[in-house]
C-alpha cells in the first residue's frame, strides 16, 4: 500500500484544519501538487507544504492510499472528514471532529481523540487507541434526533466522554474503557457497547437501539421498565457474557419503549432487586 506521510514538525499553536487531506482528494496528485493544497491554520490560509513535511509515494486510486500524520497532531481538526475510501492513520492524538461525516474507509488514531469523533458518520471504521472526548458518533448540539451516526463502526480502546452516540440512528460504538454520563442520549437505533463502567443516566430519552453496559451503572433512570434476564448477547459478531438485565424505555420519550438498555448483573449487585422483581419474589413499589 503506498503511504503518504505528513509530519507537523513545528507546533503551530493554533488549530490546523486538514479536512482536505483525505485519500479521495489526494489520489492521483503528485507530491508537489499535494504540498500546494490549501489548509487553514488559525485564521490564515496556507499551503500544506508550508506547514508539513510531505513524504512518500502518492497513489492513483484512493482505496490504495494510506495517509499518515505525524508530529504535533493534537492540533489537527477535522481529520478524515467526509472520506469515503482508503486509510488515514494519525500517530498521536487528534482534535475535534475527526472522521466527521465519514462515508467509508478506515481512520486510525494512536492517541486520544477530541470532541465529536465520527459525528454523523454513515459508514467506515474508526479505531482510537486512546480515549475520546464527548459526543462520540453524535449529532451537533441542538439537533433533533436522529441526526447522529447512521452506520459504520467506532472502536475506542480507552475511555469515552459524555453523550456517546447522541441521536444516533445506526452503526456500532464499542468502548473498551468506561464512559461518562448519558450514553445513547436520544438514540433511535444502533448499538453502544461500554465494557467498562458508566457514570449514569444511560439511554436517556432513547426510542430505539441498544445500550449495553458491562461494568457498573449506579442507577437506572425511573422511566425504564425491566423486561427480562438474558444469559448472553452478540454485538458485531462478539459474544458478551451475562447474565444481562434488559430494560425497555425510555417511557418519557416514547410510550412504545423501543429502546433496550442492558446491564451486566454480575458487576451490578445493587440491581438485584430488578431480578427479584422479574422472578416475582418482590412486589413492585407503586
Amino acid at each position: 500500500m503506498p503511504v503518504l506521510t505528513l509530519s507537523l514538525v513545528k507546533d503551530p499553536s493554533v488549530p490546523v484544519e486538514v479536512e482536505a487531506v483525505i485519500p479521495d482528494k489526494i489520489a492521483g496528485l503528485s507530491l508537489n501538487e499535494v504540498s500546494k493544497m490549501p489548509v487553514w491554520v488559525g485564521n490564515r490560509r496556507l499551503k500544506l507544504g508550508d506547514l508539513f513535511q510531505v513524504e512518500g509515494e502518492p497513489a492513483s486510486r484512493p482505496e490504495e492510499l494510506k495517509v499518515v500524520f505525524k508530529g504535533y497532531t493534537n492540533r489537527l481538526w477535522r481529520v478524515g472528514e467526509k472520506m469515503s475510501s482508503g486509510e488515514v492513520e494519525v500517530l498521536g492524538g487528534v482534535g475535534p471532529y475527526a472522521g466527521r461525516k465519514m462515508k467509508g474507509g478506515k481512520l486510525i488514531v494512536r492517541g486520544p481523540a477530541g470532541l465529536c469523533l465520527g459525528a454523523k458518520m454513515s459508514d467506515g471504521v474508526i479505531e482510537v487507541f486512546g480515549s475520546a472526548d464527548d459526543r462520540v458518533g453524535g449529532a451537533y448540539r441542538g439537533e433533533l434526533p436522529p441526526k447522529g451516526m447512521k452506520g459504520g463502526t467506532i472502536i475506542i480502546h480507552g475511555d469515552a466522554g459524555a453523550e456517546v452516540g447522541l441521536g444516533m440512528k445506526g452503526g456500532t460504538i464499542i468502548v473498551d474503557g468506561s464512559c461518562d454520563i448519558m450514553p445513547g442520549l436520544e438514540m433511535k437505533g444502533g448499538t453502544i457497547l461500554v465494557k467498562g463502567s458508566c457514570a449514569g443516566k444511560a439511554g436517556a430519552r432513547m426510542t430505539g437501539g441498544r445500550v449495553i453496559i458491562v461494568g457498573r451503572l449506579p442507577t437506572i433512570l425511573p422511566s425504564f421498565y425491566v423486561d427480562e434476564v438474558r444469559p448472553s448477547i452478540k454485538v458485531a459478531g462478539e459474544k458478551v457474557e451475562g447474565p444481562l438485565l434488559v430494560f425497555v424505555g425510555d417511557a418519557v420519550a416514547s410510550e412504545k419503549c423501543g429502546g433496550r438498555l442492558m446491564v451486566n448483573l454480575k458487576n451490578n449487585p445493587h440491581l438485584k432487586k430488578y431480578e427479584d422483581l422479574i422472578a416475582g419474589k418482590v412486589e413492585a413499589e407503586l
Binding site: Y140, R141, G142, E143, L144, A253, S254
Partner: protein
C-alpha cells in the same frame, strides 16, 4: 451619518394614503422629512429612480424580534446558528441565525427588503427592560413594543372588581412605565388555569377560577380602556383556543364581543395571526379552513382588522406567550420545549416546528391565511405578516407576498402540496390577485394607520418621515401576476432604502449600518383623571411586593435607558 437633501427622480410612486397609484413623481427629502422637491432643487443629490417602483418603507405590525422568549429561542437552536454564519465586514457587524437571528442581522435584513418599522408584539411588561435593550441594538429600523395585559393578575383582579377607572389608570401607568405602545392580549385569562384546561384550550366564555370572570370580560374591559384612553393602536388580540381545530368560532365570538362598543371611526380591535385561529373542523384529521367565514365577517363589519400570520413552508420556531398551546404542540412534536411563567403576568413557551408541503394540516394552514387575505374585499382591514418566526421567517416575505399578487405563484405551490388539504379550503377557486397598490396598503399604509402613525409613517406626502423603499421593478412593463419571480427578486433586495433621509441600502447592500431608529411609546396618563391615577399608583406601590419580586421603582424604565425614545401622546 450623511443627511444631505435628496431627490428621488422619475420613479413610479405608489402611496395609498395620498391616493397616488403608480404616477411618475419626484420626491424631495430634507432633514429626515419628505419635502416639496421644488424647494431643494439644485442643492440636492439626485437618486435616479427612472423605471423603478417607489413605495413608503414597509411596516411590520407583528414580528417577534426581541425579548426574553426570543432569547430563549436563540439558546434552543444552536444547530441553526451553525448553518448560518454571517461574517463581519468593514461596514457591518457579524451575526448568526435563521429563525432567531442576531439583532444586527434583523435590522440589516429588514432594511435590505425595504422595511423600516417593526413592532415587537408580545413582551411581558415585567421583562420589557430586556426587550428594549434588544430593540435598541437593532440597527436602522424604527421600533415599538406591545406589553402583555391579557393574563396579568392585576388586570384580572381589577376586571373582577369592575373597577374600570382604576384599570384605565393602571394601563396608562404601565404603558408609560415600561415604554409600551399598546395593549396586547394573548389568550386572555389562560395563564393561571393553564393546567386545568386539559389541553383543550380555554374558550371565550369559560369561567376563570376564583375571579368569577370570563375571557370575554377581560377583552371587553381592555377594549373599553383602549377606547377611553384614545390609544393610537387598538387592542391587539391573540384569540382564545389558538391552535385548536374548530377555533374560528372563538375568533368570530372575540371579534363580535366588542362590536357594540364601536362608535365609528378607527377600528377598535385587531385580531392577530388570524391563520392560527381560523381552523374549522373538529379534529386534526378533518381540519378545514375557516378563512371564508372570517373574511365574511370582516366584509360586514368595520370595527375589526386582522393580520395574516401567513404560513411559509420550512422549519421555524414557534414562540408565543401562550404556554398551554405550546405544551400541546410539544406533545405533538416531542422535540424541545421552553416554558416560562413571568411572575404574575404571563406564561410563554417556545417549540421548534416545521411546515411541510406534503402534510395535510400544514397545507390547510397555508391556505387559511391566503383565504382571508383574498376573500376580504377591503385591503385596509388586512395587515400582511407571517408572525415571524411562528409561521415563517421574515426573510421570506417576498415569497409570501408573491402568493397574494400572483395566482400563478399560488398554483405552482398548490401543485406540490397535499391534495386532500386543498379540498378543505376556498383557495383553489379564488382568482383574485392583489395589485401593487394593494401590496403597499397591506405592508405599509394600512399598518401605519392602525398604529396611529399615519401622519409620519406609511406615506410619502410632505411632512412624513423620509422612510422610502425603491424597488427595481417597472410596474408599467412587468406584469407581476405573470412574472412573479421578478416581483420576488425585486422585493427580496430593495434597489435603495432610505431611512430618516439617510440612504441605508444601495442595490441590496447595507451601506450605512450605524443608523439607529427611534423607539415609539405611548403616554396616555393625561387621559386619566389625576386623582384616580395618583390613587391607583399609590395603591399599586403599596401592594407591589405581593405581585412581583422586584421593587416598584425598579419596574419603571426611564427615558434615559432607551437609545432614542419618541413619546406619542394619546388622544
Amino acid at each position: 451619518m450623511r443627511r444631505e437633501p435628496l431627490i428621488i427622480k422619475g420613479g413610479y410612486v405608489i402611496d395609498p394614503l395620498n391616493k397616488v397609484d403608480c404616477e411618475v413623481m419626484d420626491i424631495g427629502i430634507s432633514d429626515g422629512k419628505i419635502v416639496d422637491p421644488s424647494t431643494i432643487e439644485g442643492k440636492a443629490k439626485v437618486i435616479d429612480a427612472k423605471g423603478k417602483l417607489v413605495m413608503p418603507g414597509g411596516i411590520d405590525l407583528h414580528t417577534h424580534v426581541a425579548g426574553p422568549k426570543f432569547n430563549a429561542g436563540r439558546i434552543m437552536t444552536p444547530q441553526d446558528h451553525r448553518r448560518s454564519l454571517i461574517k463581519a465586514t468593514l461596514m457591518s457587524r457579524s451575526g448568526v441565525g435563521l429563525t432567531v437571528p442576531s439583532t444586527t442581522f434583523i435590522g440589516y435584513r429588514y432594511a435590505q427588503m425595504g422595511w423600516t418599522t417593526i413592532v415587537e408584539p408580545a413582551t411581558p411588561a415585567f421583562k420589557t427592560r430586556h426587550t428594549h435593550e434588544e430593540l435598541d441594538d437593532i440597527p436602522i429600523v424604527d421600533k415599538a413594543c406591545l406589553p402583555l395585559f391579557g393574563s396579568s393578575r392585576i388586570v384580572m383582579e381589577l376586571v373582577s372588581k369592575g373597577d374600570l377607572e382604576a384599570l384605565k389608570a393602571y394601563v396608562a401607568w404601565a404603558l408609560k412605565s415600561v415604554k409600551g405602545y399598546g395593549i396586547k392580549i394573548v389568550n386572555p385569562g389562560a395563564s393561571e388555569p393553564t393546567w386545568w384546561t386539559r389541553c383543550i384550550g380555554l374558550d371565550l366564555d369559560d369561567q376563570l377560577p376564583e375571579l368569577g370572570i370570563t375571557p370575554r370580560d377581560i377583552v371587553r374591559a381592555l377594549c373599553k380602556v383602549s377606547i377611553d384612553l384614545k390609544l393610537p393602536h387598538p387592542i391587539h388580540v391573540h384569540c382564545n383556543k389558538l391552535g385548536f381545530p374548530g377555533n374560528y368560532v372563538s375568533t368570530l365570538k372575540t371579534m363580535d364581543c366588542v362590536s357594540d362598543l364601536y362608535k365609528g371611526g378607527k377600528p377598535i380591535i385587531h385580531i392577530t395571526h388570524v391563520q392560527f385561529t381560523g381552523y374549522a373542523g373538529t379534529s386534526w384529521a378533518n381540519l378545514a379552513s375557516g378563512g371564508e367565514e372570517i373574511a365574511k365577517y370582516l366584509n360586514a363589519h368595520e370595527h375589526v382588522t386582522v393580520d395574516l400570520g401567513q404560513v411559509v413552508f420550512g422549519s421555524i420556531l414557534t414562540m408565543t406567550a401562550d404556554l398551554p398551546f405550546e405544551f400541546v404542540l410539544f406533545h405533538i412534536m416531542m422535540g424541545k420545549l421552553h416554558g416560562t411563567m413571568t411572575e404574575s403576568e404571563v406564561t410563554a413557551g417556545v417549540v421548534p416546528y416545521a411546515y411541510r408541503k406534503n402534510n395535510y394540516v400544514n397545507t390547510v394552514q397555508w391556505c387559511i391565511g391566503l383565504d382571508v387575505a383574498l376573500l376580504a374585499k377591503d385591503p385596509w382591514k388586512i395587515v400582511f405578516s407571517t408572525d415571524n418566526p411562528n409561521a415563517g421567517r421574515f426573510t421570506k416575505y417576498p415569497t409570501a407576498l408573491s402568493w397574494l399578487v400572483s395566482k400563478k405563484a399560488r398554483e405552482e405551490v398548490m401543485a406540490e402540496v397535499n391534495r386532500r388539504g386543498l379540498k378543505h379550503a376556498a383557495l383553489p377557486s379564488i382568482d383574485r390577485e392583489y395589485t401593487l397598490y394593494d401590496v403597499a396598503i397591506v405592508t405599509s399604509a394600512g399598518p401605519a394607520k392602525l398604529l396611529g402613525l399615519e401622519n409620519r409613517k406609511g406615506h410619502l406626502g410632505v411632512g412624513a418621515d423620509a422612510d422610502v423603499a425603491i424597488y427595481d421593478l417597472n410596474p408599467k412593463e412587468v406584469d407581476v401576476s405573470r412574472d412573479y419571480k421578478a416581483f420576488v427578486k425585486a422585493f427580496r433586495r430593495a434597489y435603495c432604502t432610505i431611512k430618516s433621509g439617510v440612504v441605508v441600502v444601495k442595490e441590496g447592500k447595507v451601506v450605512e449600518p450605524d443608523v439607529y431608529g427611534a423607539t415609539y411609546y405611548v403616554d396616555a396618563t393625561k387621559m386619566v383623571d389625576k386623582a384616580v391615577y395618583d390613587g391607583t399608583v399609590k395603591r399599586l406601590k403599596e401592594t407591589f411586593n405581593q405581585y412581583y419580586s422586584v421593587s416598584f421603582s425598579n419596574y419603571i424604565i426611564d427615558d434615559k435607558e432607551l437609545r432614542n425614545p419618541v413619546k406619542v401622546e394619546a388622544g
